[in-house]
Symmetry: C2
Subunit: 428 residues, 2 copies
């Protein structure tokens, strides 16, 4: 638990930062067979899988309005207010993200712009699993609502026919239009191919276990997906100034997600400072393990956690950027200086009072973030994820004349004579 | 050629708008075997495939500075000016796209923003094929340059060791850092896994044949890709006011790309007007086929082209949005009214003087666009494609206090006690 490495060489560092990305042919075959079945048999297959996997004997595939009203009213006032507050913050930040579009006249009479259009019919997946993740409903459905997406459908398994009231309350609050009581690869198949009662989705969003991830990978041949989500990760970047208690609770917040979650502490300081902090953090973790729930997950996950310490800031930042963590907590004396050096991370939490759990739930940022190093090349879910930008050009006769020489010379050189002709005839 | 349908019913319309999306197990196996070989043997495999597929006995995998200078100086002054003009226009439009970022204080002391960072080490693929597509170099490398991406690598096959001078000139102009003389699935494998001399890429861009597309699909498990590009498509939306000659050259521009290109004319008007226009367009096409090159491709492609006519504007726009064409030319009396009704298209060309070839080469918009209906959910390549947006939050002690109730209630309800604890300890 929290194995300690001081200034590892590059080869060692690479191996410390590696994720296990085993592929599993058994899962692949099971997923493809479920998806194929849904493609062929449609709704019938969905009813059968709901019974088989969720022990759910459904009368309808969708949550009815009555169910929605009855169940969402069962949520405690305290939790309703919490969801309302989170909702407002998430909406505020995502509204700030709405792009303006742009206009450019590249030459006289050559007018270019982008028309911004919401993606209609998104499919949002929210896992059932060990905890009812109503927070994920907010994180997917609020950006869709801010973007203005039509026909927002959410799918989640109904264990023994039931969906968590908090999840329904969050869905209502966030503007979900319909809730499909189906989970797993079968839900993703319904989204990707459509069935009698589920209209095919244009883009599929949301986390899930390895079955769901595999199904999204397969679906991505036909429809868009938000990202391929792997196990959750946090990197805590700390120095001697950081509270060991804060570090310990931040590492544990990640570890409690599941046995495959990864928590790495990158420490900046001398070997003595690093060892001292490691011991203090270990003490806090041991104490907390006795008082918190989900101890099994935390112990399994912490078994592959580690502390990697560096005396130099650039070396530490190199490790951060190479790993490209989903969540990066910077708990150091001058966090903003280190933020300037961050090149790859999903979401950054600056300073001692910004725990990951603030962003996971309520501060307003999105918690659907790239894992497995995809933060090197992708961003988390935002309003952008629910928008398309269609380029438009309107060229006048004079603009066509000004462009024609270049277009015709290039078409000639590429051997495309009809392209040239299409320009040439506009000059007459 | 140009089969005619007037107001088809919904079932018929669906079948008229269908793309053939056959998957091919032989291609899949060949691609996976090449990729696996590159993964295992690295550079050696790249040299061997260059010899085998491109008859290219390479001394180095990369274009040298001398080669770059020598060859790019061989480009004619006319073509250089054309590339320069196109380059300037593309740069102007993509510079207008650079996002500003945003800042939001969702509650007192809860500060949220996005830090925008270029994606480093992009891998750009440009096919060899039947024509040297130097225009694609501009379309991929200029957005990378505007975004500020580091280490921009382009791969293209060197047929018999040679790369087209125009392609090298365009690469230099657009700011490409290194050119890898490797094509096909082997280039994509080098990008995705890295070899001794090719550092692994963070995101892979660019069009290609079915081998390349399949390789990108496989690569997308490990690195990001821009999109899965299928055969090119145009939809021309016209009414009685449109010139049959313009329509004919626009359909042929698409058809000359390859036998699997698709060109569809959607006509708004009475049956008599539609049949008249169809006949005029056919006349022009027949005449042009005799005078233009690439007749074989055009005839094969036109064999599955069609004209679908509607008397009602909403019906016509329904067909457009259901098809979600890569390119949409609106050549009607009031194109801006129809533009308002466009929900899904890659790029729109408005009015009689905006042929697709203007945007393919030089007006400034990007020609790397979603095909196969992906325009329902994705946008073409833009500066966004080369940027990541990292969310950041900085919460003050007071902000943490204001958020804490909601975070703790939600963590409780989701059964995540360490998440709650991480917030609770910040209050002490």
């Amino acid at each position: 638990m929290l194995d300690f490495y001081y200034e590892p060489d590059n080869a060692m560092l690479s191996s410390l930062l590696e994720r296990n990305s085993e592929s599993n042919d058994e899962i692949r075959d099971a997923v493809l067979s479920i998806m194929d079945d849904v493609k062929r048999r449609g709704d019938d297959a969905l009813y059968e899988y709901a019974l088989k996997f969720d022990h759910s004997r459904l009368k309808s595939l969708f949550v009815s309005e009555d169910e929605m009203e009855d169940l969402s009213s069962q949520v405690s006032e305290e939790l309703k207010s919490a969801i309302d507050l989170a909702s407002n913050n998430i909406r505020a930040f995502h509204e700030a993200q709405v792009p303006k579009g742009e206009y450019c006249e590249s030459m006289e009479g050559v007018r270019l712009w982008r028309k911004i259009v919401p993606i209609s019919k998104p499919g949002l997946y929210v896992p059932g699993g060990t905890a009812p993740l109503f927070s994920t409903v907010l994180m997917l459905a609020i950006p869709a609502s801010v973007a203005g997406s039509e026909d927002v459908m959410l799918a989640t398994p109904a264990k023994e026919g039931k969906i968590s009231p908090a999840l329904l309350y969050a869905a209502k609050k966030a503007g979900v239009h319909r809730i499909l009581k189906v989970g797993g690869a079968q839900a993703i198949a319904a989204f990707a191919y459509g069935t009698e009662s589920v209209e095919k989705r244009n883009k599929i969003f949301g986390p899930g276990n390895r079955f769901v991830s595999f199904a999204k990978m397969e679906a991505s041949r036909f429809v868009s997906i938000d990202m391929l989500a792997g196990p959750s990760e946090v990197m805590v970047l700390a120095d001697a100034s950081a509270s060991a208690l804060y570090i310990a609770t931040d590492l544990l917040s990640q570890a409690e997600h599941g046995a495959d979650s990864q928590a790495i502490l990158v420490f900046i300081g001398s070997r003595a400072e690093a060892e001292k902090k490691k011991n203090e953090v270990m003490e806090e973790i041991k104490r907390l393990l006795n008082s918190l729930g989900r101890r099994g997950y935390m112990e399994e996950s912490l078994a592959h956690s580690r502390i990697i310490a560096f005396s130099s800031i650039p070396d530490a930042m190199h490790a951060v950027n190479e790993y490209a963590p989903e969540h990066l907590i910077i708990n150091t004396e001058h966090p903003e200086i280190l933020l300037d050096m961050v090149r790859s991370a999903g979401s950054v939490f600056l300073g001692p009072y910004s725990p990951e759990s603030a962003g996971d739930y309520a501060s307003g940022t999105n918690h659907t973030l790239p894992t497995s190093g995809f933060a090197k090349s992708t961003s988390g879910v935002s309003v952008d994820s629910f928008l398309k930008k269609i380029t438009v050009q309107e060229i006048t006769k004079e603009g066509a004349r000004l462009l024609s020489g270049a277009v015709m010379a290039m078409a000639d050189a590429e051997g495309l004579s009809a392209h040239k002709e299409a320009m040439r005839v506009r000059l007459c």
